[in-house]
């Protein structure tokens, strides 16, 4: 019997045709929403379906939503410095639930010295404030294509 992780909706379809679903949320109590709005719209303009969760989300809630929505990627926006703790907890929840086929990406104000720590928590992509939309999209597409 195949396991659930082998059962992926994409397996019988050409990856090029697949519409990708992403979850975009801000972490913790950070209330700066404009940037994440811009990112959500940018992703939509590149053909993604963006499940937008806005402000004040817990790592557990984000995981619940990601599973229900069967997203390919979780993108977290962090501008108020809560990223280390948040991503540690989010990463832990994801591992606990076997959600290792979901790309984890963070954007916003992320000091260079935190990058390694974040990667250890399972973050695959880190985008500082200078990152362009096309950079982000290119990263996502190449990682999702590689995953198949």
């Amino acid at each position: 019997m195949t396991s659930l992780s082998d059962f992926h909706a994409d397996s019988l379809h050409d990856p090029a045709d697949t519409i990708r679903r992403v979850l975009v949320a801000k972490c913790g109590l950070d209330a700066h929403e404009r940037g994440v709005h811009v990112v959500a719209r940018g992703l939509r303009e590149h053909g993604f379906e963006v499940v937008y969760l806005g402000l004040r989300n817990t790592p557990e809630a984000i995981c619940n939503v990601a599973q229900q929505e069967d997203v390919d990627m979780i993108g977290i926006s962090s501008l108020a410095g809560g990223h280390r703790d948040f991503m540690r907890r989010l990463g832990a929840f994801m591992r606990q639930r076997g959600m290792d086929d979901i790309l984890l990406v963070i954007g916003g104000v992320i000091p260079e010295e935190d990058h390694e720590y974040l990667r250890e928590q399972g973050v695959a992509g880190i985008f500082g404030q200078g990152a362009s939309m096309s950079e982000v999209v290119a990263f996502i597409r190449s990682h999702l294509r590689a995953a198949g």
Binding site: F7, G47, V50, N64, Q68, D70
Partner: protein
Amino acid sequence: MLAFAMRDLTHVFAAAQAGDVTAKGRLLSVIERGGAQANAASEFAAQHAGSAYTIGVTGAPGAGKSTLTSALIGQIRRLGDEVAVLAIDPSSPFSGGAILGDRIRMQDHANDGGVFIRSMATRGHAGGLSLATPAAIRVLDAIGYRWILVETVGVGQVEVEIAGNADSTIVVVNPGWGDIVQASKAGLMEVADIFCINKADRPGVAETLRDLRQMLALSPGPPDPTAHWRPPIISTVGHTGEGVAQLWDAAMAHREFGTSTGTLDRRRRERISNELREIIARRLEQRARELITGAQWAELTGQALTGQISPVAAAEAILAPVLRSLPPSPMP
């Protein structure tokens, strides 16, 4: 391929029925993507569905549908039942992408294992629902949800489509709304099983109530003369929960009416008929695209555009290979 998919799918369905959220999410993705796997999943779902009741929530953007849907979720949970929700938003006709932002108003339920919410984009489908919506509803039914809420934006004719897919349809308006002619044109009167004046803490409720009652009095009788359901008008304040219990009672009253008069069965029959028509049309088009090239299709389109041939003749030319591939009709 189909046999393999079925074995796999049986496993996934079993997991979903046992409560595995990832399995539920994957099944809905399969349905959305279409193709052989989706057909196999629909097959399985059809055999196991039949006990869910579907409530549609529609209305203009900003009417407060998501907040109301969230309140209805709370209502159902207080009854001790589980509930599944489909929140549908339009895809961009230009990029094919979408912002699916309805569930942001349902975050109260994010950690409730008895609530399953799925956002769906219309993916090019014009009617305000996605083509996958009927199949998605059936899958949720087969998984075991007794209550399914379907929320969608209604602009113009869209309400008609949601009504075709739900057992009870709630049309949400706000105080101050009330262009009688517009509403009648859009078929809103026939579609609503229940009217909900949301944001009833704002001025204009009495006028909107009067306008709605007037419209309901003016609208033609229902096609089926034995069905005498007069849509109630419920005032609510979604974010406080005021009126939501009454809204739920109205939906249950409509359900009772539907089951006791046979109207529900008739509507479900019509739903299946519509679904069959859609599938047939889609399959024919799909088959046509397999049999003629994109260039030929474009050529015929061009000829229809310049008036060389009529659109009917162009369509006949496109269909000709499909019809030729069928065996001749038996002699009468």
